[in-house]
């Protein structure tokens, strides 16, 4: 609720801003001679120039409505229905244009909405009455309606009379071609979308994630579905003129998908998608404003893709880079622990006689080259788990290193014993499993295992299990649970 509330507030503020900005007069873009991008940016974003004002407010409005509706279609896995719908509106645009033989925003809006809804209806009809699957149905509707639209548009272009300019602008989008009437229409439609989503947020949330639940809760699911389709058609249609038929679906999908990577909550996702939509809309409009021949749509889409790319790589929880770093640090820790375990085994084999383990012994134990062993040893030293003797050949575990080594060996053997005792698995089958789980057993689980196994001292292979008490003795006097189990923070 909070999100939609704030979104409504935001839309209201924007509308006020627009109203206040309308009467202000300023230099036209044509009089601009400077080529300084920075100065242009100031001019553009201060909205002094009417063309820039319309372009910017249009871009922001479309960012809001596309971000909101896009979030719903992304979570409902209907992204490509948005694509089909956005191509299917083209005949409606052409017919709306034909109605008055000019670019009348309301006629075009009505025509486009009708054809958009017709397109989604045909998709579901094909799905229901033939054996064709959704993808084929979407593809056919998308391209079939589009072809009809192209036929009409080319016929309009060949008409001898009338003001034909403007129809082709709907294909790739030209934000600078928008006038005050377009902006008013966009503002009204965006406001309707925001208000409806605000009032019925709970209902839309329910049908997006759990249709069956929504149905048994007594929500009119069918009505809600169709009203969402109507809002979707609205947001596609108002975005048309700035982004163009071909790319408008990207403004629905991409900002919402970026938001989806950043949060798990629908209301936060709505917020973020709206923000991303507005930012990429404004950026695209600005770049195309720099050079008027450039179409707006592709730049808006690229800006949105850039946002998505950043979210894809760097999202705090789902980002590819972040996950890679997390996985790498886990792999490093497992490697360190395995090295410690090998050192422990070497020491154990000679009854803990002598104080260090040579690189040769470690290499032999791990069946590796001495170079590899030396690298592993260096990593232990870097983490304060071991020191190297002067000649660099002898590894001496620090108390903390010894503690952690014992903890790992204890985890391993406890788990082996647990599997043989509690799960009746043969003693020669438990090693592999223990080899994996030893790195992830937490303090609580270890204590439970020890109690459950009655503080056993021998594992199924007859080797001693270091007890938590033993490990505590190694420690330099610290006795907090983290240090005891070897899972505390490193000093």
């Amino acid at each position: 609720m909070r999100a939609s509330q704030s979104a409504a507030l935001l839309a209201g503020v924007l509308l006020l801003l627009l109203g206040a900005a309308m009467p202000a007069e300023a230099a036209k873009i044509g009089e601009l001679t400077e080529t300084d991008v920075f100065e242009q940016a100031i001019r553009f974003f201060s909205m002094k120039d009417p063309t820039a004002r319309y372009a910017l407010s249009g871009a922001v409005l479309l960012g809001i409505s596309c971000g909101l509706l896009g979030s719903f279609i992304v979570v409902r896995r209907m992204a490509l229905l948005g694509d089909a719908l956005s191509h299917a509106v083209l005949p409606g645009v052409a017919m709306g244009w034909l109605w008055h033989q000019t670019k009348d925003p309301v006629a075009i809006f009505v025509g486009a909405t009708i054809f958009g809804l017709l397109g989604t209806f045909v998709v579901s009809l094909i799905k229901q009455t033939t054996k064709l699957k959704e993808d084929a149905a979407l593809g056919m509707v998308l391209a079939g309606f589009y072809a009809v639209g192209i036929c009409l548009v080319t016929m309009i272009q060949r008409l001898p009379q009338g003001n034909k300019a403007g129809v082709d602008k709907f294909l790739f989008g030209q934000a600078s071609a928008m006038g005050p009437d377009d902006i008013k229409l966009m503002a009204v439609v965006t406001l309707i979308a925001v208000v409806v989503l605000f009032l019925f947020y709970k209902e839309f949330l329910a049908i997006s994630f759990d249709q069956a639940f929504a149905h048994v809760s007594g929500f009119p699911t069918r009505l809600l579905h169709y009203s969402m389709m109507l809002l979707l058609a609205f947001s596609v249609v108002i975005a048309l003129q700035a982004v163009g038929v071909v790319l408008v679906s990207a403004m629905l999908i991409t900002p919402a998908a970026a938001a989806y990577l950043l949060t798990d909550r629908l209301h936060r996702m709505l917020w973020l998608a709206t923000l991303f939509g507005m930012v990429s809309g404004a950026l695209g409009a600005f770049i195309s404003f720099l050079q008027t021949s450039l179409p707006t749509g592709p730049f808006m889409v690229l800006a949105a893709s850039l946002v998505f790319g950043c979210a894809f790589l760097f999202a705090p929880r789902h980002g590819v880079v972040v996950r890679w770093v997390r996985r790498r640090s886990r792999a490093r820790r497992v490697q360190r622990e395995n090295t410690l375990k090998a050192i422990y085994h070497v020491l154990e084999d000679r009854d803990f006689f002598g104080e260090g383990v040579s690189l040769n012994e470690l290499a032999e134990r791990r069946r590796e080259t001495v170079e590899d062993a030396s690298q592993l040893a260096t990593r232990l030293v870097r983490h304060g788990l071991a020191t190297l003797h002067e000649d660099g050949d002898l590894i001496l575990l620090t108390p903390e290193g010894m503690q952690r080594a014992s903890a790992i060996v204890r985890n391993h053997r406890l788990w082996e014993l647990y599997l043989t005792n509690a799960a009746s698995i043969a003693a020669d089958h438990v090693h592999e499993d223990a080899e994996k789980i030893e790195h992830v057993l937490g303090e609580e689980t270890v204590r439970k295992l020890e109690r459950r196994l009655a503080f056993a001292t021998r594992d199924p292979h007859g080797r001693a299990i270091p007890s938590t008490a033993d490990i505590q003795k190694i420690s330099k006097g610290g006795s907090s649970p983290e240090e005891v189990t070897g899972y505390g923070r490193r000093p």
């Binding site: 699957k133 079939g144 294909l171």
Partner: protein
């Protein structure tokens, strides 16, 4: 409003193209047929694999590949590496396009799209549909920016991207072999691609069939389904790029899906589906041309409109599963409605 739909003049629309302007319209129909056929044949497998929208994605995203190929060919050409350097004085039309580079660019772009969709889909929690939408729209946007910014160097304009310029084939200088005029080069090129498509399907009929319908069985037969997937995607890119200048980026989708979808409403057997695909391609191209002449609109779009009209006819009148047949069954056997009716999930 009057005059928007021209009066239907039987002679001008139907007769004269074949009596007076045969040389002009014949090649357009041939081109339309070849494009629809090649697309339809490959598209059949997209329908079986439920990947129709990957076809949509690839048809959009070959644009940047194509634009870069044009740029490279232009610069290589103007530095004299590739053909003759441009000579503005003689005013002749220099053809900087290099078919090889175009295919290469499309191949890279097509495979890149497939890989990118997989990457986004596998490495994040974005679902496949959204991944497709994001990938193709970004690549298409890059392509549009390239062709607008380098408009002088890339011989592709926005109209061509949006609805193709199939009527241009009749204006191309003919390829000649001695005395014999073979036809416009783009039609010949498309003919080769279509023949190779047929050959590809005949040679790998079993492999494509098994890997499309049962990847597990395919693996056990020693046919790598992943390899077949990428082979199909590569060939799809080649077909799409050869069709690109004639029909543009979006109408291609219709040509990929409509023939196969129409055929699958009429029969269940694969060989018959392929035969019907050929028939659908021919009828769409022919009827589309006449529609375009009558309404004076873009010919490629008219061909798609006619293709869609054949689909609607099959949908309504198909003897096995048409709407009429379903209606009749429901009417005559009201007590036993087909399971399909009741098994539909609520929207």
């Amino acid at each position: 409003m009057s005059g928007f739909i021209p009066p239907f003049d039987w002679h001008a629309v139907v007769v004269s193209p074949w009596t007076e302007n045969m040389a002009q319209y014949g090649w357009i129909v041939a081109m339309g047929f070849l494009v629809t056929l090649a697309c339809g044949l490959v598209g059949n497998y997209l329908i079986f694999r439920r990947m129709a929208l990957v076809g949509d994605a690839i048809s959009h995203s070959v644009l940047p590949g194509l634009a870069i190929a044009f740029l490279v060919a232009y610069h290589a050409g103007s530095s004299g590496l590739w053909g003759t350097p441009p000579d503005a004085a003689d005013g002749a039309h220099h053809d900087y396009r290099s078919p090889l580079l175009m295919f290469l660019g499309a191949l890279v772009a097509g495979l890149g799209t497939t890989v990118l969709i997989e990457l986004i889909h596998k490495k994040s929690r974005v679902k496949q549909d959204a991944a497709i939408g994001i990938t193709f729209s970004s690549l298409f946007a890059i392509g549009v920016i390239l062709i607008t910014v380098f408009a002088d160097e890339v011989d592709l304009d926005a109209d061509c991207v949006l609805y193709g310029e199939i009527t241009f084939v009749s204006m191309e200088p003919r390829v000649r072999l001695g005395e014999l005029s073979l036809g416009p080069p783009s039609v010949l090129r498309m003919g080769v691609v279509t023949m190779l498509t047929v050959l590809f399907i005949l040679l790998f009929y079993k492999e494509l069939l098994v890997s499309s319908f049962d990847p597990g069985l395919s693996r056990s037969m020693g046919i790598n389904p992943t390899f077949m997937h990428y082979a199909l995607m590569s060939w799809l890119s080649v077909v799409v790029v050869s069709a690109f200048e004639s029909v543009g980026a979006i109408l291609v989708v219709a040509m990929l899906i409509l023939p196969g979808a129409t055929a699958s409403l009429l029969t269940d057997r694969l060989p018959r589906i392929f035969l019907l695909t050929v028939l659908h391609a021919a009828l769409s191209a022919l009827a589309g041309l006449h529609l375009a002449i009558w309404l004076n609109c873009a010919a490629a779009a008219a061909m798609v409109v006619m293709g869609a009209a054949w689909f609607v006819l099959a949908w309504v009148f198909s003897p096995g599963q048409g709407l009429l047949r379903r209606w009749w069954t429901l009417r005559t056997q009201p007590l036993a409605p087909p399971a399909l009716e009741t098994a539909q999930p609520r929207e």
